[in-house]
Symmetry: C2
Subunit: 475 residues, 2 copies
Amino acid sequence: MDAAEFRRRGREMVDYVADYLENIEQRPVYPDVEPGYLRSLIPTEAPMEPENYDDIIRDVERVIMPGVTHWHSPYFYAYYPAASSYPAMLADMLCGAIGCIGFSWAASPACTELETVMLDWFGKMLQLPECFIAGTHGHGGGVIQGTASEATLMSLLAARCKAVRWVQASNPKKSEAEIFSKLVAYTSEQAHSSVERAALIGGVMMRKVPTDNCFAVRGDILKEMVEKDKAAGLIPFYFCATLGTTPSCGFDSITELGPICNGENMWMHIDAAYAGSAFICPEFRPLLNGVEFADSFNLNPHKWLLVNFDCSTMWVKNRADIIGAFKMEPLYLKHENQESGRHWQIPLGRRFRSLKMWFVFRMYGLKGLQAHIRKQVALAKEFESLVRADKRFEICAEVILGLVCFRLKGSNELNQKLLKMITKSREIHLVPCQLSGRFVLRFAICARATESRHIQQAWQHITQLTFELLQEPNH
Amino acid sequence: MDAAEFRRRGREMVDYVADYLENIEQRPVYPDVEPGYLRSLIPTEAPMEPENYDDIIRDVERVIMPGVTHWHSPYFYAYYPAASSYPAMLADMLCGAIGCIGFSWAASPACTELETVMLDWFGKMLQLPECFIAGTHGHGGGVIQGTASEATLMSLLAARCKAVRWVQASNPKKSEAEIFSKLVAYTSEQAHSSVERAALIGGVMMRKVPTDNCFAVRGDILKEMVEKDKAAGLIPFYFCATLGTTPSCGFDSITELGPICNGENMWMHIDAAYAGSAFICPEFRPLLNGVEFADSFNLNPHKWLLVNFDCSTMWVKNRADIIGAFKMEPLYLKHENQESGRHWQIPLGRRFRSLKMWFVFRMYGLKGLQAHIRKQVALAKEFESLVRADKRFEICAEVILGLVCFRLKGSNELNQKLLKMITKSREIHLVPCQLSGRFVLRFAICARATESRHIQQAWQHITQLTFELLQEPNH
């Protein structure tokens, strides 16, 4: 395919993308396929000779679309949102064309530098303390990771490295392995599975801290666990706080937890993957109070801030902590301005992802982004009101942002049945969670295209299925 | 920006991309900027109000392009190639529109399933042993990682997990920490820095194995090191072989190393990040002989197979090894068909990257991809001949694929000066490496647009600078 054909096919693809998103409501949000459906639809081997582009595009509808869960359908209320916007898609096209691999400053200076400045822009939008801003002379700053999992892992590894150095400063003979075996990390029992996974990868113990009745970790309980571990000769070194947990969008009490971590010389990382985007609104910013105690902070604009996946922004107070954890400079990566490079992540190569932030921030403006957050929170509140007005249902966690956790009053089995009916009907898509042993339905406002009428329609659908369910003879 | 505006702006962006790539020769391949150049060109904060799209596009030329290292310029000969093709870019546009986060089968069945089948297609193109093919009943199979660094890390972690289980099977009382402290991994002294980094992350020892005069690790030397470590009470558990090392494109002798690893119960991972793509050509496939001994194998189509970054393909013999290393299934990820999901990587979320492979494989066909590899190898051979014909120069490593390592006969200092002149002139871009203590220039065929005339021109430029250098009074 030459440039001329790309111009033609590119235009067609732009229209395909616009058509897809404009008419997404007409597609069933959740696919009706069984595992293995795709293999039988395409050949078992790659073609020897080039194929016709038209055939490939036809196969997108024949092979791919029947198996797609449409995350941007206004009937999609599962998990948390995946961000999507036209400016981000345009920036990604540019990113693909430039196609640089930004593993060092010299590999493409603009890639490294725009990222640093975008993280400063964003940090200011979030009113982060000055220590997290790189500026021209700061010690802190931000970086784009692929996912929150990677940010958590990087913070845990940096904390581990710092803890080893700290222990060895007073006990130079202690081996790394010996120290590793004493290190203890902590996180909420409500934390995302990737936090536990980070500890597994890093080869350190991870304790799950119980939460209060708002599904939040409080200071006293962490303090108690830390004391107990220290008394047993262990070395508490890391706490991962969550702002906006995956099950219920709960908020750990970082104003209580931060001083404890600081006092105990423990690294505090804040995972605000979903909720973090809301902190650009003054009315939600108090939820981030306490960030000044953190060593690192992460949120995913690719969840809720209209920047297409992947774009997970992470700030650290001391760049040296995270760079120092793994610095290695073979000759083929050395260049005259290497200090400006950044090996802050697991993968060495990286795309020019900050272009997406730049396009989105400028095309929406801070006000436009705030409006997006506020609209989705209002939709969640609208859904909450509908649930609260129906005595058969209960709300299971405070609705603070765009997630509503609710259930039918009654057994877990009943709620499992209801979810099964919802999934089977394929009119809307949502997933469950478990809160205090109870099976709960999660209703997350996801798609940019979701409007009040969709919320009303979803609720009508849920109550209709509920009616059918409760009609069954055994109820 | 609504769909109508996206249609218009998208068309403009398609043209911008085509123009950029068609006229890339006219841009200086390496930017003339100093660290920090970008910050002064844009505001210090994000705008409050939405901006005009035309202003943003104007800023792409004003702010971004002056700081871009143009990886797809035919004057770019640095590092290894970053793949780029029009079909891959079209697929990426589609991927952005679908915008699913494929962390489980249910999250988007097509995303998981196309990936599995594409890895089978590709495995067959590479003539991988049957055990690496998933098919409908296989125990092996492939996955797309972001980068080779992630593939290496995953293989090391899986190997670590397996080693712990194996040791604990006969010594149930041994703690994980105790075992970790005895584990030893091995790789070539020529291996990529990310291999050493994987061991640092995993908290295990890593030994660098010396290479022979072709910069290859041979069986006898690994055997010797393993025996020595075992005698010292350590546990050799992992060897990362490289096919196509970063400095010189050297090939470890996997036919010798494989049986040793198998005999010692050590996991053998093969990192063929760059060279691997060439194995789709029958004449280069013998370089992969010995893969049957490997537990895992990785190469980057995003380097040399026209699939834009990121797309790093990894196969394992036993899926259970790599899935089992970190399986965790919280309720919000559970679904009825969860066995078909895949948590084979560090990040939980992932884009629909297999679309790029599907588009590229079909639009080029196996023959078209082979032609691409062969053309670039021929260009490297052409450059090699030019170097060999000039008695002032020497070739420093056998030219097998698309990389030529060469230097001026004489001191390292002389060669450093020559590279400095090349970099300063900005007509071509290349980076150095160190081979047996000698400072060597690497000339890698990178851009898809590179033709014979560019090679001739590059050589003329190098010899012109050499002439100037050797004219200097102190030579």
